[in-house]
């Protein structure tokens, strides 16, 4: 009887244990410590200094799944996020506590101007991300397309400059200009298809494929319908 009561009491306690607020320090210790060191001091050849990166940077890397990384030299890429929202926020707060840095931005793309956004994007971003944000190449890095980027993520990445991306502080791109850029990137997720199927919006490479794999193939087919094949 006593043993049964003890078991019931333990079972009753178990759910309440997970109702406790997540520990940022605990999550950091489990997921980040081995590469980034205690208090974000960084570990040589393993992980960068996190002191002063700010909530905005931390939120970007975590929300996109860029971090955690499986090996130090690997380029971060968008993958499934292992944390739920509460854990994520706790971890972000903890990393932000290492030192003062840029906060999580609050962009307002609806206040931006899509034409100004296109001009700014072409000037500052298209060299890597391609003029309609379809991604590209830089020696040493694969530049992601922005078709899945949320406005907050765009703002965070612009201010932080993740991996080998340069950063753009308020002095270079004001919040108002950033709103325009985000508005343009939103537009670029579904660019104009006035001419029909957009075939990727990257220009002549898919156009050449259509030329050969659709047009030339079809016309050679017509030639075989019109003309005879040589026998033997």
């Amino acid at each position: 009887m006593k043993r049964a009561a003890l078991i019931v009491a333990l079972l009753a306690l178990a759910p309440t244990a997970s109702a406790q607020p997540p520990s940022g320090a605990g999550l950091y210790a489990e997921n980040c410590l081995s590469c980034h060191g205690a208090n974000g001091v960084g570990v040589p050849q393993m992980g960068s200094l996190l002191r002063g990166v700010g909530a905005g940077t931390a939120d970007f890397y975590l929300r996109t799944g860029y971090m955690p990384l499986s090996s130090p030299g690997e380029q971060p890429y968008r993958k499934r996020v292992l944390f739920d929202e509460r854990d994520l926020q706790a971890l972000v707060r903890y990393v932000a506590s290492f030192g003062a840095g840029p906060p999580i931005p609050q962009p307002h793309p609806e206040q931006g101007d899509v034409s100004e956004g296109m001009q700014l994007f072409t000037e500052h971003c298209a060299g890597c991300h391609q003029v309609v944000a379809r991604g590209g190449v830089a020696p040493g890095a694969r530049v992601p397309a922005l078709t899945r980027a949320a406005p907050v993520e765009i703002a965070e990445a612009v201010r932080a400059g993740p991996y080998v991306m340069p950063r753009f502080t308020n002095a270079t791109l004001s919040d108002a200009q950033l709103n325009s850029i985000i508005r343009y990137v939103d537009y670029a997720k579904h660019p104009s298809e006035a001419g029909g199927w957009g075939i990727g919006f990257v220009g002549p490479v898919p156009e050449g494929m259509v030329t050969w794999l659709i047009a030339a193939a079809a016309l050679v087919g017509v030639c075989t319908a019109v003309g005879r094949r040589v026998r033997g």
């Binding site: 956004g117 590209g136 002549p204």
Partner: protein, 464 residues
């Protein structure tokens, strides 16, 4: 009523024929021409696909000239309904293309049909060239026809490049800068030539746009049209080549006469070409210049590529390791020369010289009206296939950046891999193609002998 209608039709035809003959004295010629025979094989129609694409290019092109403004001397501001461009500064040339595409009914259809037709035109020429090459149709007496065709291919490449550069959008503007660099890279005289064509160092004077415009809408079309007329005349004068079957020989051409058999087929192919091009023109977006934005000297975008038929050149430019050949303070060979000038020069030189090279190598200076099957000329097929492989590998190298973006294979390692493959794969292609031809020939020989043995026929009545 129907019988009367038929007799009326006969009478009308007779009247028409008399009308023409009385004024032109051409009845004997027309009688021959209408019964001109066309040897029948699907691969003989590839040249026609190119021809009909050219016809559509001229027709759609004339429409475009009624709207395009070839001016880059000023900047104007866009105030149309396409939001992302509103308020942006651009040249009248770019604006006229955007306006035609987005604000003129049927404008985008005609413009896209024109651009698809250009891509298909050159693809058809390439397929036609491959057919001519691998069947030996370029041999005497048709070597002149072949040279005219190669010249038309050269003009078509330049015509297409200039055509899409006229729009002054970001992608083609970058392409013009590269074209300028290739011109500059010609040893000794490159800069002088570039100064002449552009009128000043890049981006040149506004007159450069007038020059591109007149080259694209008048000079090249006249040149291509004239060469095309000569090309077709030569084909007609010497009659078309043919594969050997039963009645065909070096002296006798067998085929379907123009009337009534061949003309409907040919017209059918023409409308099929038009149909495919109009369908693409309406349904698949090509060169959406309003998405790229106008060109500025300080602007560029990742992933910029030339149209497909210049892909081999961007591949060659990217594959070259980085060096200028200098002698003291003089730059003898700037880097873009190798990929931008030497590669196309070598490829076209081989193509132009090929009839002569083959005559020297085989000691065959004779006339040929009959075609080879590729397997019948193993060395020609092997060398041709090797050259094609070389060009194709260089072409693929030009798309290495998009392969990186799509498949994740590192750009630098692709470039290094291509630098090796570009020499190894053609050698492999040479050996494999030759082997395949020889084996196919042997296979036929064995089959023939087997047939003989089975039928117990003497060797003299063996069918060719």
């Amino acid at each position: 009523m129907v019988g009367r209608a038929q007799q009326e039709a006969d009478a009308v035809i007779r009247k028409l024929v008399r009308l023409v003959d009385e004024r032109t004295a051409s009845a004997p010629f027309l009688k021959k021409a209408l019964r001109y025979v066309f040897p029948d094989h699907w691969s003989f129609l590839l040249g026609e696909v190119a021809l009909y694409s050219f016809v559509l290019l001229v027709a759609t092109g004339i429409y475009l000239t009624l709207f395009f403004d070839p001016s880059v001397a000023t900047q104007v501001v866009y105030h149309g309904s396409y939001e992302p461009l509103r308020g942006q500064e651009m040249t009248p040339a770019y604006k006229s293309v955007v306006d035609l595409s987005l604000h003129v009914k049927a404008g985008l259809l005609i413009r896209q049909t024109h651009h698809w037709a250009a891509d298909v035109f050159i693809a058809a020429i390439v397929l036609h060239l491959l057919r001519i090459f691998f069947t030996g149709a370029f041999r005497k007496p048709r070597d002149l026809t072949y040279y005219l065709g190669l010249t038309m291919l050269t003009f078509a490449l330049l015509e297409g490049y200039v055509g899409y550069s006229l729009a002054d959008d970001l992608l083609s503007g970058m392409g013009l800068a590269i074209g300028y660099s290739v011109a500059m890279s010609i040893p000794f005289v490159g800069a002088n030539l570039a100064a002449l064509v552009w009128g000043a160092p890049f981006p040149g004077t506004p007159a450069f746009w007038s020059r591109m415009y007149i080259a694209h809408v008048f000079i090249f079309p006249i040149l291509i049209g004239t060469l095309l007329a000569a090309h077709l005349l030569l084909v007609a004068l010497r009659h078309h080549t043919q594969f050997k079957r039963e009645r065909e020989s070096e002296r006798t051409v067998v085929g379907i006469p123009m009337i009534p058999g061949y003309a409907p087929r040919s017209l059918g192919l023409m409308f099929a070409v038009f149909g495919v091009l109009f369908l693409l023109g309406g349904l698949v977006q090509i060169n959406p210049v309003w998405l790229w934005g106008p060109y500025h000297v300080a602007a560029s975008t990742n992933g910029a590529q030339p149209d497909w038929y210049l892909g081999w050149l961007i591949g060659a430019l990217r594959l070259m390791p980085g060096f200028d050949v200098t002698v003291g303070d003089y730059t003898l060979v700037p880097n873009p020369f190798w990929g931008g000038v030497l590669v196309p020069l070598v490829v076209f030189a081989i193509l132009f010289l090929w009839p002569w090279l083959e005559r020297k190598a085989t000691n065959d200076h004779g006339f040929h009206n009959l075609l080879d099957r590729p397997r019948d000329a193993p060395w020609r097929t092997a060398f041709g296939f090797a050259l094609l492989t070389w060009v194709f590998v260089v072409f693929l190298a030009g798309s290495a950046d998009r392969v990186y973006v799509t498949f994740g294979i590192s750009y630098e390692s692709q470039i290094w891999a291509y630098r090796v493959l570009v020499w190894i794969l053609p050698l492999l292609a040479l050996v494999v193609a030759h082997r395949v031809c020889v084996e196919l020939q042997r296979g036929e020989e064995v089959k023939r002998l087997r047939c003989e043995v089975l039928a117990k026929r003497p060797a003299a009545s063996r069918s060719p």
